[in-house]
């Protein structure tokens, strides 16, 4: 990092400036300013609709008016059991336990559903589910990727993950969530240093062989696509081809991050317990750190001695000696440093520390790299916000690196993108379909929303509601739109085949996390504890922790993750692919994990007659009663002989875990 800045500064002095000397960028065209996503969010007038009786929350009017304009009617409300199952998976990513299902189904209160939504929003498992959606945005992983022989594990990445879980559970207003993730170090925090962990959003990306321009590029990308839905990194080598983002704007942001550094010893988030175990941890850590110091001391001493040897040595300049030994020294240093990092990454006693940033001790001016080449330094650009989202006269950032100012510009009611982008992401999770189908590209080439008034209403209301994500959930979940059945209707499908107007609910398939968690849940194996260092999920004995806590090695992500369309942890992920491939089926049919969960489901069954046990099995896996026909099918299957390793019951239970009813949510 210091080397790099040194390089840039020196070159800027010695090289002729390649690009125009004017730091003021060309004015943004009026057409670009008129693009729907760059206009300020206003509350659109509530449209007139015919069927006012259908409305449950204000957003319904926006949906209904579009439907009515096309001569469409909404679908009927789904049945209660389906709605319960839907909202369980949606909010906490787990199936309703049989007794909860029973309770909710028989709840006679008129506000039974509102109560259910409240219960789920208050459950800590809500934060676990929704944090994972955010971790896709944040390209979360527990490792750096390929960095030669360095220790690859981030010892404290989990502190960011746990911070996000808590932020969702506590309904931390989204604007504060943004500011903490970009600049918690600049906030008056008081005693609770917890928010410092939020900056993992910036720091836990891939380390690209420790190449600084690429690390910064990744940070600009996660901030701009993730929070603003703008593809600013397209402007790394030249002005953006489609959007009003001059390359100067990219380097304004570059300057912010080039002037932000990771402290060597970030503060502890929690004081360690003063006990013998911790003392042992510290002793070992000290011992490993001292090895490095000792080596450096002896090395210097031996080199000096070497120089005084008679004959050859005196003739060799110190620089040459150093060069010759450089490689060997570096390897040794790295090996020792790795031992220190390893100890922090593997010891459960290592006190959690935030993966934070702070401003560099000296703030340097930033420059355009002509055609993206750090060796070709162009004009100086001030650190400041994007032209398209600013008035014509822009103030440069004043405080240090400018990270806090950057954060405030993003987390602002004036910003036309931030709220729109977020409500679109939330909507997409609830409905399995976005309002803007390019969720991380709201630029000129992005997809315009089919229902712009609905998007704007949600965005406006979200800000009015103090950027509360839980309030946004309520607005959506309690709507008549959300409560529609997922059934198909041929006539309506002909009019709106993509369901872009939401005339029915989209049936959704469980993603990887929900699928694995649901299996653990029905197997009675799910561990309820929150947070902590990541755990290995793919090896036996299988962990009962939620999939959220699985170790994400971005270098060699276990095949099963991407087989099930897990987000690529290397860059910001706008949305997940949904593919159906036989490797998914192979995992379900053959993996020891699934076989084990099938066994555990059976171990819970009680009741003697076969029929009662089948009923119990259906309750556990599908949260419903088995029909007589299904009981007959089950009995027939169970009449087969036992295999050497699995009983007919265990094979039967596995089939239910494989079935479409288990993985699709109506």
């Amino acid at each position: 990092m210091p080397t790099f800045r040194f390089f840039a500064v020196v070159l800027s002095i010695t090289l002729p400036v390649a690009a125009s000397a004017s730091a003021e960028t060309a004015a943004i065209s009026p057409e670009a300013r008129q693009h729907w996503a760059f206009r300020r969010v206003h509350c659109p007038p509530v449209p007139a609709i015919k069927d006012a009786a259908w409305l449950r929350t204000p957003l319904d009017a926006f949906v209904l008016s579009k439907l009515e304009a096309k001569g469409l009617r909404p679908s009927p409300e789904t049945d209660r059991a389906a709605l319960i199952r839907r909202v369980y998976f949606d909010l906490i990513g787990l199936p309703p336990p049989p007794d909860e299902m029973e309770r909710a189904r028989n709840d006679q209160r008129p506000d039974w559903y509102e109560n259910l939504v409240e219960r789920l929003l208050a459950s800590p498992q809500y934060g676990e589910r929704w944090a994972r959606h955010w971790l896709d945005v944040a390209r979360y992983a527990d490792s750096k990727g390929y960095v030669f022989t360095e220790e690859r594990r981030y010892p404290y990445a989990y502190t960011y993950r746990d911070y996000v879980v808590a932020a969702f559970n506590n309904d931390l207003p989204y604007d504060q969530f943004i500011v903490q993730q970009l600049a918690a170090d600049k906030l008056p925090l008081g005693a609770d240093k917890g928010p410092l962990a939020a900056m993992g959003f910036l720091t836990l990306g891939r380390r690209f062989l420790n190449s600084q321009p690429d690390i910064i590029d990744d940070r600009i990308d996660v901030v701009t696509r993730g929070l603003l839905g703008l593809t600013v990194t397209c402007a790394r080598c030249h002005d953006h081809k489609f959007d009003p983002i001059p390359t100067q704007d990219y380097y304004s942001f570059y300057g912010v991050f080039a002037n932000s550094v990771e402290p060597k010893d970030p503060p502890m988030l929690r004081p360690p317990e003063a006990n013998a175990a911790y003392a042992a941890f510290e002793k070992e850590l000290k011992a490993r750190e001292e090895e490095i110091t000792r080596l450096k001391v002896t090395r210097t001493a031996s080199r000096i001695v070497g120089l005084h040897l008679p004959g050859t040595a005196v003739q060799i300049p110190l620089a040459a000696v150093n060069r010759a030994f450089q490689r060997a020294d570096r390897d040794k240093d790295r090996a020792l440093q790795k031992r220190v990092e390893q100890w922090k990454a593997t010891s459960p006693l290592a006190p959690p520390r935030p993966m934070m940033l702070e401003d560099a001790p000296h703030i340097n001016a930033s420059h355009v790299f002509v055609r993206g080449n750090p060796g070709n330094v162009g004009e100086e650009v001030p650190r400041r916000f994007l032209a398209i989202l600013s008035p014509d006269k822009r103030e440069p950032f004043h405080e240090g690196s400018g990270r806090l100012e950057l954060a405030k510009h993003i987390a602002s009611n004036e910003n036309p993108l931030t709220a729109r982008v977020l409500v679109n992401r939330v909507w997409a999770q609830h409905f399995g379909q976005c309002l803007v189908r390019s969720p991380s590209n709201f630029g000129l080439r992005g997809d315009a929303p089919a229902n712009p008034e609905l998007l704007d209403y949600l965005a406006w209301r979200f800000m009015e509601d103090g950027w509360s994500i839980k309030k946004l959930h309520r607005l959506i979940l309690l709507s008549a739109t959300y409560r529609q059945s997922s059934e198909d209707n041929e006539a309506k499908r002909k009019i709106d085949p993509d369901n872009s107007l939401f005339w029915h609910m989209n049936r959704q398939r469980l993603d990887f996390e929900a699928l694995r968690d649901a299996m653990l849940a029905v197997a009675g194996r799910l561990e309820p504890n929150l947070g902590g260092p990541a755990v290995e999920l793919t090896k036996e004995p299988f962990s009962g922790r939620r999939t959220l806590y699985g170790f994400i090695d971005r270098q060699n992500l276990p095949g099963i993750f991407r087989t099930f369309d897990f987000a690529c942890p290397d860059t910001h992920s706008p949305q997940r692919f949904i593919t159906t491939v036989p490797q998914q089926a192979l995992f379900l049919m053959n993996s020891p994990f699934v076989v084990e969960q099938g066994r555990r489901v059976v171990a819970q069954l009680h009741g003697e007659p076969t029929e009662a046990r089948i009923r119990h099995l259906y309750q556990l896996t599908y949260s419903r009663d088995a029909t007589d026909e299904e009981i007959a099918m089950g009995k027939q299957f169970l009449a087969s002989a036992a295999d050497a390793k699995l009983s007919p019951w265990e094979r039967y239970a596995q089939v239910l875990l494989l079935s479409n009813e288990f993985v699709f949510v109506d």
């Binding site: 087989t563 491939v581 036989p582």
Partner: protein, 482 residues
């Protein structure tokens, strides 16, 4: 390929159904749109099954599939396919020009310890360590003017595989599988084999990057011969096959009941089919990797050892319709001969030469060489000058060569390439490519051209722009096209 697919021909397939039937939902919308845009979806029926459905490229092409023999670590071109008599003349003396900068310091000219000989009608000279491969030299186009950007393994591996030294980009196998699908739905479309573990940069070499995970290379550790160790979850160790069939029959019954009330949802249908596909994959995959099914004379032709086995497997895979097979020499960087190049290169070549020669002949006798492109090479070559001792880096034996990105050799065979030709040249000593230079981007452009793609139009829209394997570079080397 997929007999289970039912398409109602009485009713036009809507875009939504097409999407759904293709087994892909939300994120796939963009994908399908782009495939249409790029002319990759030739007919709705062809795309109506899954993301690996075979599809046509931009224009008719000879090559249908690829075997990439990756000599990871960097084989020395002056010891294999690029003879340099001047090195013998200058052996032990400094070159008459300054040594180019590589990873480490190098010294005097270092003559090849191996003998070169002319082979075939074309009379192309090849080193004795690749004598068996050389027997097919009339089917080979030797590119002696390759060059890359830096003399380090990691960025060069990334450049060779993904077209970019550091940033996250899909590998060429992923690109090709995305573009063409695969001809066998019972096997992965892109397979990367490497015995004993990963090469340097590990699974990033066959990453799908921002493409869907289905296009990522499936890694196979060919140290194993046991099928369940080769492919994850390919075998059930708990349930006999007849019992598993009964399970799947019950599953189909349950799914059919579930589907009755959920008409016109192709995601549901695709998932039903995926279990039958998986069931068949268990058999087909086991068969594909089992070289004992080959007649003895074929096994003898490839020879003994792991290299022979994995190269023979490569042929069995492409024969079964797998689109892209990458065969890595071994874990880490086996060809990285900083020391003892004579012993090491001879040993390494000995492990694979017979099998590579056999592969070329075998493909030819089966009529597969015409539409299979075989690529041989490393991430770069090696210096014609000897590597000098570097503490902590080599053993200081002064009998090896350093990395060399300035000039190196790769060869192509089959798949519409002009056999029996040499293209381009390095300088007198083999330090740098000087004549008809071919950058790695040019190789990629040519590879895509051979497969029927215009590399400038074969794009994937992501993060606001259209990405290409060749980024903003690449030129098709037309002179090597048959």
């Amino acid at each position: 390929m997929l007999p289970m697919t039912s398409i109602n021909v009485d009713r036009p397939v809507t875009r939504r159904e097409l999407l759904h039937r293709s087994g892909m939902g939300m994120g796939a919308l963009a994908l399908t749109g782009l495939m249409e845009h790029a002319g990759l979806l030739t007919s709705s029926a062809a795309a109506a099954t899954n993301p690996l459905t075979p599809r046509g490229p931009h224009f008719p092409a000879k090559a249908k599939r690829v075997i990439h023999l990756f000599m990871n670590g960097g084989p020395s071109h002056v010891d294999t396919f690029d003879p340099k008599p001047s090195l013998t003349k200058y052996a032990g003396k400094p070159l008459p020009r300054e040594n180019l900068r590589t990873e480490r310091r190098t010294g005097a000219a270092f003559a090849s310890p191996f003998k070169f000989k002319k082979y075939g009608k074309s009379g192309i000279e090849v080193s004795e360590i690749f004598a068996k491969t050389a027997e097919s030299v009339d089917d080979i186009c030797v590119i002696r003017s390759m060059h890359a950007d830096v003399p380090n393994h990691e960025p060069s591996l990334m450049l060779m595989n993904c077209g970019d030294a550091r940033q996250i980009r899909p590998s060429m196998g992923s690109w090709v599988t995305y573009g063409l699908g695969s001809d066998n739905q019972n096997l992965p479309g892109f397979i990367a084999m490497c015995p004993n573990g990963y090469p340097i940069q590990e699974s990033q070499n066959w990453q799908a990057g921002f493409l869907p995970g289905v296009y990522q290379g499936t890694y196979i550790d060919t140290r194993h011969t046991d099928i369940e160790k080769l492919i994850e979850n390919i075998k059930n160790n708990y349930t006999s096959q007849p019992e598993q069939r009964r399970q799947l029959d019950l599953l189909q019954q349950l799914n059919a009941r579930h589907q009755q009330r959920r008409q016109n949802d192709a995601q549901i249908e695709a998932r039903i089919q995926s279990f039958e596909l998986a069931y068949r994959m268990q058999m087909e995959a086991a068969d594909a990797f089992d070289v004992s099914k080959e007649p003895k004379h074929i096994r003898d032709m490839y020879g003994p050892g792991t290299q022979a086995r994995q190269i023979l497997i490569a042929r069995r895979l492409i024969e079964r319709g797998v689109r892209f097979v990458q065969v890595w020499h071994g874990e880490g960087q086996p060809w990285d001969s900083h020391d003892d190049i004579e012993v090491n290169h001879r040993r390494l070549a000995q492990q694979c030469d017979q099998a590579i020669g056999a592969l070329l002949k075998d493909l030819k006798q089966r009529g597969l060489l015409d539409d299979t492109l075989v690529i041989w090479g490393g991430e770069f070559g090696r210096t014609p000058t000897v590597e000098l001792p570097t503490p902590g880096a080599n053993q200081g034996k002064v009998n090896g060569r350093d990395h060399n990105n300035h000039g190196f050799t790769m060869w192509l065979a089959g798949g519409g390439v002009k056999g029996g030709t040499v293209y381009g040249a390095t300088d007198e000593f083999g330090f740098a490519a000087v004549e008809n230079k071919v950058h790695v981007h040019d190789l990629h452009a040519t590879l895509l051209h051979l497969l029927g793609f215009d590399h400038e139009k074969f794009t994937y829209h992501y993060a606001g722009r259209d990405f290409r394997l060749t980024d903003v570079y690449g030129r098709v080397v037309r002179d090597i096209l048959a």
